[in-house]
């Protein structure tokens, strides 16, 4: 109904922060050789997107998962293999495009990278830690 109308509330601030983040990450691009969690800790301003870790399933996981949500939602999980299997099956039911032949490899990739024994994910802060979305 009102989906086709222009948004008019006052919250315009977050995108400004995001844009700053885009420029910051462009400058930080050479840091891409370091592991993703180290990059997340080092960058001073949050980038809009984060990458999934390298691996034979990186491209397929990116297509399947990041179509609907960003990588951080995956990067912050620390789950057992059965728990990852449950998530992958749920998301496939919800529209993630996963070739049945890739299912097991995708679960292996996620549980190898995001298992309970990995160090906790260090989230970034907006506005350089000052806390605002103004």
């Amino acid at each position: 109904m009102s989906r086709s109308r222009k948004f008019t509330s006052q919250e315009k601030s977050l995108p400004v922060t995001l844009l700053r983040g885009v420029f910051a990450i462009a400058l930080l691009a050479p840091a891409a050789a370091s592991p993703f969690w180290a990059r997340a800790q080092k960058s001073a301003s949050p980038n809009v997107t984060a990458d999934l870790p390298a691996g034979s399933m990186q491209a397929k996981a990116t297509t399947a998962c990041l179509e609907c949500h960003e990588a951080r939602i995956i990067l912050q999980q620390r789950l057992s293999k059965p728990a990852w299997a449950k998530e992958v099956d749920k998301m496939t039911k919800w529209g993630a495009v996963v070739d049945p032949a890739d299912r097991d490899a995708l679960i292996d990739y996620l549980s190898a990278n995001f298992s309970p024994d990995k160090p906790a994910y260090q989230p970034q802060r907006t506005s350089g830690g000052k806390g605002g979305t103004r």
């Binding site: 948004f7 006052q10 951080r72 912050q76 789950l79």
Partner: protein, 348 residues
């Protein structure tokens, strides 16, 4: 803000901001399951009220704003706040302690709108649907609350937060405000209210947002009939300062924080600086409202240098006290274990 996700937008308030009774909107946590509506226009927005009612209604924002306004200061907390602290870890946004905040929400009472529509005797639950945009085949974020809570004098169709129109992140132009209950009950970008004969049947009522009736062990199978929907918040306190891992000097240290208990009142907050052997009462702040947190403070004399664990433990008017260890559940809801920070005290 702590960035949990940009897409979908999920932002957490750092605990050091919990030093004002009302949380500034810019520092108020944001939780979305879906994409925020890409386009919203106050003039075109409509709210429909239907289902088990005598007279279905459609209201514009101008019509809604003509109904008498009521204000409720409410502590809104995500059911998953503290999820990252559960062991073993559970899937979901890995919130720390800051998916909570307190604001003054204003708008018409939901019951006044329902009175215009006339709820039939067959109506037992109230469904809320928002304008958030659903990707893929994800089930829409639709939930329901029992009619009794919907008719409570403090349940609102909120259009304002801390005196200003809602921002997009918080549900502009109108959201449900179901006080004392988990944030998921307070549907944002509200566009449809439907009176139902039974609890809404959909993913976000079951299997999501349910707790086992009895404590379960990780991996244990749980039958749907042995679960219930998560509704009111638990008793909880959080230490806002000193910060975890900070170094202080010997002498006077003020430990501060906030404590809340959903539909109940905070009776006391106690602090321990000796790992739970002895507890002393904290001083509760004078600002209070039925569904709002109490700020608290405790003056501690850090006489000797060394490493300390500071604990805070709240008890509410129902006699509930924060547990020593979290009550694990498969989705990590309602984490409310005794809070703690570890600090180092150095010679002044």
């Amino acid at each position: 803000m702590i960035l949990r996700s940009f897409r979908f937008v999920d932002l957490e308030t750092p605990v050091e901001y919990f030093n004002t009774w009302l949380t500034p909107v810019a520092h108020f946590f944001v939780r979305n399951h879906m994409y925020e509506p890409t386009q919203l226009d106050a003039k075109e927005w409509r709210l429909s009220v239907g289902g088990e009612v005598e007279k279905p209604l459609t209201l514009s924002l101008a019509e809604l704003s003509k109904i008498e306004t009521h204000s409720v200061v409410n502590t809104l907390e995500c059911a998953g706040n503290g999820r990252s602290l559960h062991r073993p870890q559970v899937p979901g946004i890995q919130w720390g302690k800051g998916a909570v905040g307190t604001a003054r929400f204003s708008g018409p009472r939901l019951r006044d709108v329902l009175q215009h529509a006339g709820v039939k005797s067959t109506g037992k639950h109230l469904m809320f649907r928002g304008l958030d945009e659903v990707p893929g085949k994800v089930p829409p974020f639709i939930r329901s609350i029992p009619l009794e809570k919907a008719l409570d004098a403090d349940t609102l169709l909120a259009t304002h937060m801390n005196g200003l129109p809602l921002t997009k992140h918080h549900g502009f132009p109108a959201r449900a405000l179901v006080p004392g209950w988990i944030g998921a009950a307070s549907c944002k970008w509200l566009t449809e209210i439907k009176v139902l004969e039974a609890e809404f049947a959909g993913n976000f009522m079951s299997p999501a947002y349910r707790l086992p009736n009895q404590p379960v062990k990780p991996g244990e199978a749980i039958k749907p009939e042995d679960t219930h929907p998560v509704t009111a918040l638990s008793v909880k306190s959080v230490i806002s300062g000193p910060g975890d891992g900070s170094t202080l000097k010997t002498g006077q240290v003020t430990v501060r924080g906030a404590a809340w208990a959903g539909e109940a009142d905070i009776a006391k907050v106690e602090i321990s600086t000796d790992e739970g052997i002895t507890w002393s009462p904290a001083k509760l702040g004078h600002e209070q409202a039925r569904y709002a947190w109490r700020l608290w403070s405790y003056d501690w004399k850090a006489a000797k240098p060394g490493d300390y664990t500071i604990l805070s433990r709240a008890t509410d008017s129902l006699g509930r006290t924060q547990p020593d260890t979290p009550v694990w559940n498969p989705s990590g809801y309602l984490y409310n274990a005794i809070d703690q920070v570890n600090i180092h005290v150095a010679v002044a």
